[in-house]
Symmetry: C2
Subunit: 188 residues, 2 copies
DNA sequence: CAATTACTATACCACTCGGTATACTCCCGT
DNA sequence: ACGGGAGTATACCGAGTGGTATAGTAATTG
């Protein structure tokens, strides 16, 4: 692993555990076993490091969800695949998803929130498109695609948060339960 | 407004907007028009200020939800009252709820997360009790009260987050929609 | 071979951080 | 009138912040 990768890896762990503002560049370079000029050579600034971290890790998630969200006139199936895509990714990249999750709800004027804002928009967009297409098949869903996208994503993140903190295990059963609850509620 | 209140008020606004770690004590006392020893006289430390902020504002929310969550064998009604309690509170104390929300998803080893952990537990407990009681009336819900409590709270915070950012307006219709979706899913 | 380029360490910068020692003023109870 | 405590400001502390000027090394390219 070269120095650039070492920096990314250690910064990710530290940011995920204690937050962007609470972790100094000195601590990052110490953990990576290098010095500050190396960090600033590759990333220009602390904020640049954060953005590189997001870009590197988000794209695989996005592509994975994108493929899963291809609508083929079977909404339950598609939603299950989307949830599965999120769950699998979060499980395979726990520190990263922890960080992204904390940044999602970060204060609006904070550096971390501004850095993920665009990524959130893209996820929302993806799901909106899905629900918009689905509404053509399910008339009673019409006009609510934005709300569905937002609450669906919120539900996914709630479940992922539970899983990351050990209150649930990420498996096919959880995926089914999540989608089923989203579509049919808690009674059935 | 005395100096103690000035500090609390200004610190709340700043923490809600940019986060605990990103805001220094100097900035807080400048905004409040006082000096540091005054802050340290009342709160002992920056962390003490944060805890005072939480204690002051959380208790009213907790009591409000507690009353709303009194189960009387009508789950939809009770859930609507709980959601309404959260919505009303979040609407009346926007900066505070913004802050609490960001702290809820903050990194696990961060100061803010540790400070709200206990409050989160108390909310979760309240809802678990509710769903446990409800499961006596609705057998098919049995054994899932923890999951229901967690996802219900997650759903509430998703909606509140939407409302706080202007993507939805907090009114009775939204309350009804939120509970209805939670109980019956998106199809009906 | 020489020159350039990528990369990295030493040592440092100005500034901000959370927190405090000291002293002062003001008010309250005696 | 006086002691004592609450509250507040001035001025300061050591440590750490994000960031950089300089110089060096090692590999690549002409």
């Amino acid at each position: 692993m070269d120095n650039r990768a070492k920096i990314l890896s250690n910064a990710l762990k530290l940011f995920a555990a204690r937050g962007y503002d609470a972790v100094g560049t000195q601590e990052i370079v110490d953990a990576a076993g290098i010095t500050k000029p190396t960090l600033y050579h590759y990333f220009g600034s602390k904020e640049g490091l954060l953005k590189a971290l997001l870009e590197t890790n988000f794209e695989p998630l996005y592509q994975s969800v994108r493929e899963a969200a291809a609508y083929q006139h079977d909404l339950p199936l598609t939603l299950e695949r989307v949830v599965l895509a999120y769950f699998n990714f979060a499980d395979k990249h726990r520190p990263y998803y922890r960080m992204q999750l904390s940044m999602w709800f970060a204060p609006v004027d904070s550096v971390p929130f501004k850095a993920v804002a665009e990524l959130n928009r893209r996820q929302q967009q993806l799901l909106e498109t899905l629900f918009l297409l689905a509404a053509e098949d399910h008339g009673n869903m019409r006009g609510r695609h934005q709300m569905y996208a937002a609450t669906f994503l919120g539900m996914i993140n709630t479940y992922v948060s539970l899983a990351l903190n050990g209150y649930a295990s990420v498996n096919d059963d959880l995926v089914y339960k999540a989608v089923h609850q989203f579509m049919h509620g808690i009674f059935s």
